[in-house]
Structure formats: C-alpha cells, structure tokens
Subunit: 278 residues, 2 copies
C-alpha cells in the first residue's frame, strides 16, 4: 500500500508535548504561528490562564479545541474522595464547554491507595462516569474514555483496552465515546476490530506519538512519530475506515528529549512528521 500523507490541517497539539517550555498563551500562539489548527490543553495550564481568557484567545487564533485533558480519576478510598472526584469532573465539563472542546478526555483512575481490588476500582469508574454523564450531555460535552496502556493500570487508569472502554460505552449510553491513543493501544491484537466496533460516532479523538525501543521510563519516554515501532499510518487507516474524520493530536511526554528542546523546534518537527510518518 503506498503512503498517502494526512491532511495537514488535521494536526493538533496536545500541550503536554511542550509543557516544560511554554505556558498556555505561548502554546496557543505557537500553534497559530506553525499552522497547527488544533490544540488540546491540560487543566493545570488552563487554570493559570483562566478558561474564559483561554477560550477567547483560542477562538481569536482560529484554533479547534480537540479535547480537554483531563477528567477521570474516579476511584478513591472513601466516599469523600469519590465525591471530590465527581465535583472535579463536573468543573472539567464546564471548562470543556467554555472551550467548545470536541471532548473531555477521561483518564479514569487506578487503584485507590492501599487497595488491590481491581474489580472494585473498575466499578467505581463505571459509577463515576455514570454520575457525571447527564451533566456532560446537558453541557454538550462528549466524554472520551481513554484506555491507557496496561502499564498504567495500578496508578492511572484501570481501563486498558478498547474493548473494556466500549463495554462501558454500551452500558452507559449516549454522550460517551473513546479517545484512541496509539501509544496505549497499538499492541492490542483486537485493535482493528474494536475501532470498527466503536464507529465514527464514538471515536472522539485520535492521539499520536511513538513507542521507543528501548523505553527507559514508563511515563515520560514517548517518541516523536516515526522514531519508534508503531505503524501509525495503518492505525490511521483503521480510524478512517471506521469513519473518523477528526484531528490527529500529538501528545509526547519526553523528559529526556523533546521536553528539553526549543518548543518551536518541537512544533516544526511535529508538522514534518505528521506528513511523513502518520
């Protein structure tokens, strides 16, 4: 199959990619300067600038907010902790609405402190999403469960496969879909089928980066597209076959490499690699 590069206007920047160098204002301006049409902010940076001010600046620059990172983190050791998580998710939904974000990304959370009860944590995730879903529907903010790589099961997200995430979507109904991050799901032998099962209505986001060999850190050693082993064009083709027409959001956490580089260089590299390796 010959390689056909994606529409360059579908590139989006997940701001984690340059979080060590820029604040959100710089990120917004950087995207505009580099002709990157989408942006996905994280809430810590959003809080610094303020959601209202951020929304205005993003609109002024003509950018699409491809997602807000992140809600989730539902499991907690006690009722008070779970309630606090719900409240935080409700605020995140309001922020996402103000930004007119395509979705609120849910990193659902792992085991509560001291717990080994994985099934219990998964139940808390289902119940937590269920509690905030009505508010999300009213606000017009689709919730995107992001299945995280199984290496994050204990401490970040106990939903680790597309199949599990889609089971939750089936159970909880409208307003809920999936953020497909190639880094998290590339290994899954059922990936193609599950993307097809999701269908265009539930495919809410597509995140890209690369899996490096060797990977030196579980969290912050992601690669630039093309530097690793993920067949990104193949996964993109599955997304497109399922009807996905949304953005391709670059999210690279890279403490020893990309986070150290000049952020303009990082954005320029994303532009190039989007056209050669995705």
């Amino acid at each position: 199959m010959s390689y056909s590069p994606p529409d360059p206007n579908l590139l989006s920047l997940n701001t984690a990619t340059v979080r060590e160098k820029w604040n959100l204002r710089q990120m917004i301006d950087g995207c505009a300067r580099h002709g990157i049409c989408g942006i996905s902010p994280w809430r810590d940076k959003l809080a610094e600038l303020g959601a209202k001010e951020a929304a205005k600046r993003i609109r002024d620059r003509g950018l699409t907010v491809t997602g807000l990172c992140r809600g989730g983190m539902f499991p907690a050791a006690d009722r008070k902790g779970r309630r606090a998580a719900i409240d935080d998710n409700l605020r995140a939904i309001d922020d996402a609405a103000m930004l007119e974000a395509k979705c609120l990304v849910l990193v659902v959370g792992g085991l509560p402190e001291g717990s080994k009860d994985l099934e219990g944590a998964r139940t808390m995730v289902r119940d937590g999403i269920g509690e905030v879903l009505d508010h999300a529907r009213s606000a017009g903010v689709p919730l995107a469960i992001e299945p995280l790589h199984p290496m994050y099961c204990a401490d970040r997200a106990c939903v680790n496969t597309m199949a599990h995430a889609l089971d939750l979507c089936d159970e909880l109904g409208a307003g809920l879909g999936i953020a497909v991050d190639a880094y998290h799901v590339w290994w899954d032998p059922g990936l193609k089928n599950q993307i097809e099962r999701a269908g265009d209505k539930r495919l809410l986001a597509f995140h890209i980066c690369d899996w490096l060999v060797p990977t030196m850190d579980l969290l912050t050693d992601r690669g630039m597209m093309g530097d690793g082993v993920i067949d990104l064009p193949l996964i993109r083709s599955w997304m497109e076959q399922a009807g996905y027409r949304g953005f391709h959001e670059v999210e690279i956490m890279s403490a020893s490499n990309w986070w150290k580089r000049d952020a303009d260089e990082v954005l320029a590299t994303c532009r190039v690699r989007h056209q050669t390796a995705c």
Copy 2:
C-alpha cells in the same frame, strides 16, 4: 473470604530471582537448604553447569524442574534468523527433556529489527511454534506460551494476552499450553475467564511476584509478593478453580533491591511471603 495459605511444598524458585549472586549449582543447593521443592533454571546458567550435570544435581536434591526458561524469540528479519531461532528452540526442548522439566517456557519474541509489522511478527510466532511442536511432543516436553505484559510487545513478546495465547493453542493443538505469570496478566479484565478457558491441561505454570507502585524500570523493578498491588490469592484461587495443581514459581527481576541482597535472605523471604501474600 478468609485467607488460606498455599501448600509450602508448591513453592518454586525461578533462578532469575537470584541470578546476580549465585550460579546454578548454588541455586540448586540453596533451594534444597531452604526447603524449596521446585526450581526453574535459565539457559545461560544451565549452559555454565551443563544440562547433564544440572539434571543429576537437581535429581539428587529431590527438586522438581517446574520449567526451563526459555525458548521462543521466533521473529527475525530474514529466513536465516528464523532458522537459527528454530534450531535454538529444538536444543532448548532437548535440554528441557534432560531436566524432566514440566514445560519449556516460550517468550515468543517481538518485532524484528527495524520492523513495524506486528501482524507479521505474530504470524512468525505461530509458524515458529508450529515448526518445533512435533519435536516437543516426541520429547515429552509441553511448550508453555507465556503472554508477556503489553509493555514488552515491541522487543520481547508480541503475544500479550491469555486470549491470544489460547487462540494459538487452539490452532496448533496438543503439546501446547500457557505459563500464567501474574505480573504480566494481572491487569487483564478477561483474566478469570481465560484461566477457566485454558483449563488444567493447558495451565502449565504459574509465576508470581508483584507489581510495584511506582514501577521505576520496565524490566527490572518487580516486587516481592506482598509489596505491590496484585491480588495474588485471588489469581491463585482462579488457577485452582480451573484445576491447576502445580507449583507457584517466584520470578523477581529487581536490579535495585532483591538482586542486591544476600541470596539466602531472598529465598527465606520468598518462603515467608508465599505463606502470607500468595
């Protein structure tokens, strides 16, 4: 459910646990000294002592060889590389037969150098196992596919779930089963069902250690049973419900902790934790 400790005679030592301190002769003697009735050697240590000498010494000490680590590593960039892997697996089968090992553990291999063709690698795995299976059957050595954690998909094993491993067993037939390593599969929401699907005939080994939070290294930061988040008694109960009556093999790769400790202390700790956390 009240905790009922396992039969202490079912403890086995995977020699990777003390590989930095002892040679195979010391490991064999150490198991006997600590009342550990099973042992699972790695081939590098076996080669140092010689399979024949090792087999005699293990028999003299009355130990059961719960597995030989390891065959596999089937994918390669060219025909010559794949042929070399087959030949190496045939030799591993002969060694396992000489040791009267309960199984030869297969770490099936990842992507060939420079390749992103995951489906192709998985086909090479299937074909490779298929090529050595007759020899294994003749030698009376069951082959145990070990599904490895998805974080090893690129470089160690592209079979990462029980379901995938059992699909291979279904396809290739008798003489093939699974090594269930809790570290690799604990996160899988389908684990209980897949253990049941495997059934006692195909459950060839049960490896134990623990998942630490945080995990600082992808390869060598495994925890002692009880120090992490895996509900080992629960997984053991699923194995037993499926009819598994074999050993519980401790395999801890721990560069910053257990590999540095006195090996007698490590074995003594394994004995205790087997009775309190498994």
